[in-house]
């Protein structure tokens, strides 16, 4: 078994969380000295696999065996895997902004004698490591003063210090501009030539095609195939086919769209990142919604879908730069959430526990919380009778499973929590309801019911926008689908012409083209 060409072999790895199988019998083999890419849709299990490898999920919490350099490994934490020379660099960089480059590089691994840090040695060593990654910065510069691209290089330099043999990069270029991305890819090539093996998780297929020697595709927690890029014949189309090869298995309730007039339109919508003014999260976006229409928005993580929707919803994200909005034929300027709600726009947030719910509230108080004035007197006294009636009404309509409307929302299951959030927005009687990942983390049965609620809303003549990472869901639900990549709308497909391949192509295209 000790094939000297193989640095890592993960055999038959399975990992489940209560209620969901994240990985099922995954096999993954990495050859020594190659760049190996892992591709898959959001939620396919890529990161979970890497967490199993690096000891975030320790030995014993998964099934299967990991062989590293021919030896069976039983990492009990990240330190153990790092000790063996496996270093993972997460998408969210683990750097402390106020500390210097050198301090960050040696954190937890300080160059110290009896607890006293030798700063001269530390900074010298840091300078040497920085030179190896081609970063010319003073090691004493605070980390917050250098850009994200350079921070990524610091992370790699930090890994080099740990005598890394197997470097895992999770979406390393997601937050980088093109120049920084190119530089990073060059660096990875350089590491390869020095014998360091890299595993790279990325959504950017053109980069993967350019750099990887092999590609393993994961779908729904299972390995689909491993492609040998060096042998030729692998291109983006081939990768996409592997990633989405799933059939439309989710079922959808019957629904006949009754599409009316265009009533909502934005054009030239441009928004800056709230902290980084020179980064645009929405670039000159334009789209429209018709009455009774369900419009889907497809895009990979970080493409700017949520940012666009929140910006439309009362400028609740980023710094608005330019753009116009027309609602019912009249130009409107909705620069606060309350104005947006008043104008008839609702927004079901993507992370219901962080952004959507006050977990201290009951079903009843949550249902009415987005439009309290509707059940309050002019002096602002809440009519508890009306509140109860409204909450009961929506509980019955949406078939929310709760012992009573007085019950705390924190104790409901995910699907029922989502129904309560939906009730909260249906209560505001929106003309346009935006749903961001409406079925994330809920089971199939509840999904089916939520699809039904969305369709009924559209049948009553309202406009619905659905943002989702699950392409089958968008294809089954939407009448029309826009694609977003890196903050720009890259295409718009009608239900008839859309399929997973055509969407995935537009979702990974950086330049806009009409389909």
């Amino acid at each position: 078994m000790a094939d000297p060409d193989v640095i890592l072999e993960m055999r038959d790895i399975s990992k489940s969380f209560p209620g969901v199988k994240a990985l099922q019998h995954v096999n993954f083999t990495v050859k020594r000295g190659e760049v190996h890419a892992i591709c898959g849709e959001n939620g396919a299990g890529k990161s979970t696999l890497m967490k199993v490898l690096s000891g975030v999920w320790p030995h014993g919490t998964y099934e299967g065996d990991i062989y590293y350099n021919g030896d069976l490994c039983t990492f009990k934490d990240i330190r153990a895997s790092e000790h063996a020379g496996i270093v993972i660099i997460h998408q969210e960089l683990a750097l402390i902004p106020e500390l210097s480059i050198a301090e960050n590089m040696f954190i937890g691994n300080e160059n110290a004698k009896s607890g006293v840090i030798d700063w001269v040695a530390t900074n010298n060593k840091a300078r040497e490591l920085l030179a190896r990654v081609g970063l010319r910065e003073d090691p004493e510069t605070p980390i917050k003063n250098i850009g994200v691209g350079k921070q990524q290089l610091v992370e790699i330099a930090k890994a080099l210090n740990k005598d890394v043999q197997l470097l895992i990069l999770d979406e390393p270029t997601a937050a980088l501009n093109e120049e920084d991305s190119r530089h990073l890819l060059d660096l990875i090539r350089g590491l390869r030539s020095k014998g360091i093996t890299c595993v790279i998780i990325s959504h950017k297929l053109n980069e993967i095609e350019a750099i990887a020697n092999s590609i393993t595709i994961i779908r729904d927690g299972q390995t689909v195939e491993t492609l040998d890029v060096d042998a030729g014949g692998v291109n983006e189309d081939r990768i996409i086919k592997g990633m989405v090869g799933r059939s439309l298995e989710s079922r959808f309730p019957d629904h006949t769209p009754k599409i009316g007039e265009k009533f909502f339109e934005i054009s030239g919508w441009t928004v800056q990142h709230p902290q980084v003014p020179d980064r645009l999260v929405c670039k000159n976006s334009s789209f429209f919604v018709r009455q009774g229409e369900i419009v889907g928005f497809a895009g990979l993580m970080g493409a700017g879908r949520t940012e666009l929707m929140r910006s439309i919803f009362g400028h609740s994200y980023g710094n608005f730069v330019s753009g116009s909005m027309v609602l019912d034929g009249k130009p409107v300027k909705l620069d606060s959430v309350s104005k947006a709600i008043e104008a008839g726009i609702g927004y079901v947030t993507e992370d219901r526990k962080v952004l959507g719910l006050n977990l201290l509230d009951s079903v009843k108080t949550t249902t009415v919380s987005a439009e309290l004035t509707k059940i309050a007197s002019r002096l602002g006294v809440v009519d508890r009778h009306a509140e109860f009636v409204a909450a009961e009404d929506y509980r019955k309509q949406l078939r929310t499973k709760t012992p009573s409307v007085e019950y705390g929302v924190s104790k409901l299951s995910g699907g029922n929590q989502q129904k309560v959030v939906l009730a909260k927005w249906l209560f505001t009687d929106p003309e346009l309801l935006i749903l961001d990942e409406p079925t994330r983390g809920i089971d199939v049965g509840a999904k089916y019911e939520i699809y039904g609620i969305i369709q009924r809303l559209a049948e009553s003549g309202k406009g619905v926008i659905v943002v989702s990472s699950e392409l089958p869901e968008l294809l089954g639900l939407s009448d029309r689908i826009y694609t977003i990549c890196e903050g720009a709308i890259t295409g718009c497909l009608d239900k008839r012409e859309a399929n997973q391949e055509s969407l995935m192509r537009l979702m990974t295209t950086t330049t806009a083209k009409s389909a």
Partner: protein, 426 residues
């Protein structure tokens, strides 16, 4: 047995905390040989703590919204001296002076609210600064002197309900007030029952309602009769009446109005509140401003009681008020707490203070005991939460009735890891 539980727990969980207060009172009654429940002592407890309880009303709203206010003692002192000087030097009639004092409080509150809400400085820092600024202002305005206030003004801190009507050995107005309160509570309870029945909500058994009403009525009437039986001229203190009115108003605002709901929403989940159209900055501003206005009122009540305003009025009040709020079941992280709970928390501290004083226990031991009580009350709360059980005090104090009997019915643990899995992919 279940019914009995409902009387004390059931829907209105304030009863559990009241139970602790009653136990404390009975203990001191026994330990002090009956001194605690003497009319004069009860009147004294109310009069001597009314201003702290007024502060606690404002403080609980601040804490529910997720902030804190350390400046209340200094604000009270600054307003106290301003009012005393205004009466003395500008010959302001005392009723006008009260309005003037509230105005100064509002101005100070607007100042602090501005920094917290619109500049985004944590309230801890803003009010720490305020604590220094307004203490200094008090000493600067009054040149560190003590300034007396006229007799009319003293009424709001040291006055009582007057003696009217036939001689009954009791203060008639106090008795009447007691009857009126009991009547209002009974009327309100039955109206709620009727409404609940009309809309098909669950109505508690009649027996439970009657038992609970009986207990409340008996307690209120006993307390009023006790105070009415004091020495002629002393009875229900006016400061107690001011407090009661404020409790009713703020209790109503916090539970029944849009603004109240928004305060809980901001403290419970600021992001969710913002994305539900709540103007979170306005709420922050309002709670901070309201706190300073109530601090102004508390300051004036104290000055009235002690007949003059001095440079060391209000020192340490913020801590008493904050302690009352947390003993009363509020959460440090915000979103949880009730006005009535804070009143009970404040009374626990007051009775403790008073009982130890009656026993002649020194200020040193009193402080140690009060500190330990605060720590124990909150530690118990935290312990309950970490055990996965609903927080006892929080549960007792939640105004919203919640079904705590069947938490296992829906699968709570099942969904969370799924979310986690999805998130790992981002």
């Amino acid at each position: 047995m279940d019914k009995l539980k409902q009387v004390f727990g059931g829907d209105t969980r304030q009863f559990g905390m009241i139970f602790a207060l009653v136990a404390l009172i009975l203990f001191f009654q026994w330990w002090t040989g009956g001194l605690t429940l003497k009319a004069d002592n009860v009147i004294n407890i109310f009069q001597g703590n009314a201003y702290i309880l007024v502060l606690a009303i404002g403080m609980v709203l601040v804490i529910i919204a997720g902030h804190i206010d350390l400046s209340v003692g200094s604000v009270a002192a600054a307003v106290g001296i301003s009012v005393a000087m205004a009466i003395r030097d500008w010959s302001l009639p005392w009723p006008v002076a009260i309005l003037f004092g509230l105005g100064v409080g509002a101005l100070i509150g607007a100042w602090q609210g501005f920094w917290v809400a619109y500049v985004g400085i944590p309230a801890f820092i803003v009010t720490l600064a305020g604590m220094l600024i307004f203490r200094g202002l008090n000493q600067y305005i009054g040149k560190s002197n003590t300034v007396p206030v006229p007799e009319g003004f003293q009424k709001i801190g040291a006055g009582y309900l007057p003696e009217v009507g036939p001689n009954t050995d009791y203060n008639n107005l106090t008795l009447l007030l007691g009857f009126a309160i009991v009547a209002a509570i009974i009327f309100g309870t039955f109206r709620t029952r009727r409404n609940q029945a009309k809309i098909g909500a669950t109505v508690e058994p009649m027996l439970v309602t009657l038992l609970r009403l009986g207990l409340i009525s008996a307690a209120i009437l006993a307390a009023m009769a006790l105070m009415a039986s004091g020495r002629p001229g002393t009875s229900m203190p006016l400061s107690g009446i001011i407090l009661a009115v404020l409790v009713i108003i703020y209790g109503f605002i916090s539970t029944r109005t849009v603004v109240g709901r928004h305060i809980y929403a901001v403290g419970g989940n600021r992001h969710a509140a913002e994305l539900s159209g709540v103007k979170t900055k306005k709420i922050d501003f309002l709670v901070m401003m309201n706190m300073s206005m109530l601090a102004a009122l508390a300051g004036m009540m104290f000055v009235a009681r002690s007949t003059s305003s001095g440079p060391f009025d209000g020192v340490g009040w913020e801590l008493d008020a904050i302690a009352a709020v947390f003993i009363g079941g509020a959460a440090v992280s915000g979103g949880v707490g009730t006005v009535v709970g804070s009143m009970i928390g404040g009374l626990v501290m007051a009775v403790l203070n008073n009982g130890l004083q009656l026993k002649g226990i020194g200020a040193d031991m009193t402080q140690i005991i009060k500190g330990l009580v605060l720590l124990t009350a909150v530690a118990f709360d935290v312990f309950q939460k970490s055990q996965g059980r609903p927080s006892l005090i929080g549960r007792l104090m939640r105004n919203k009735p919640q079904d705590v009997a069947a938490p296992a019915q829906t699968d709570l643990g099942r969904e969370a890891p799924v979310d986690q899995v999805v998130r790992t992919e981002s």
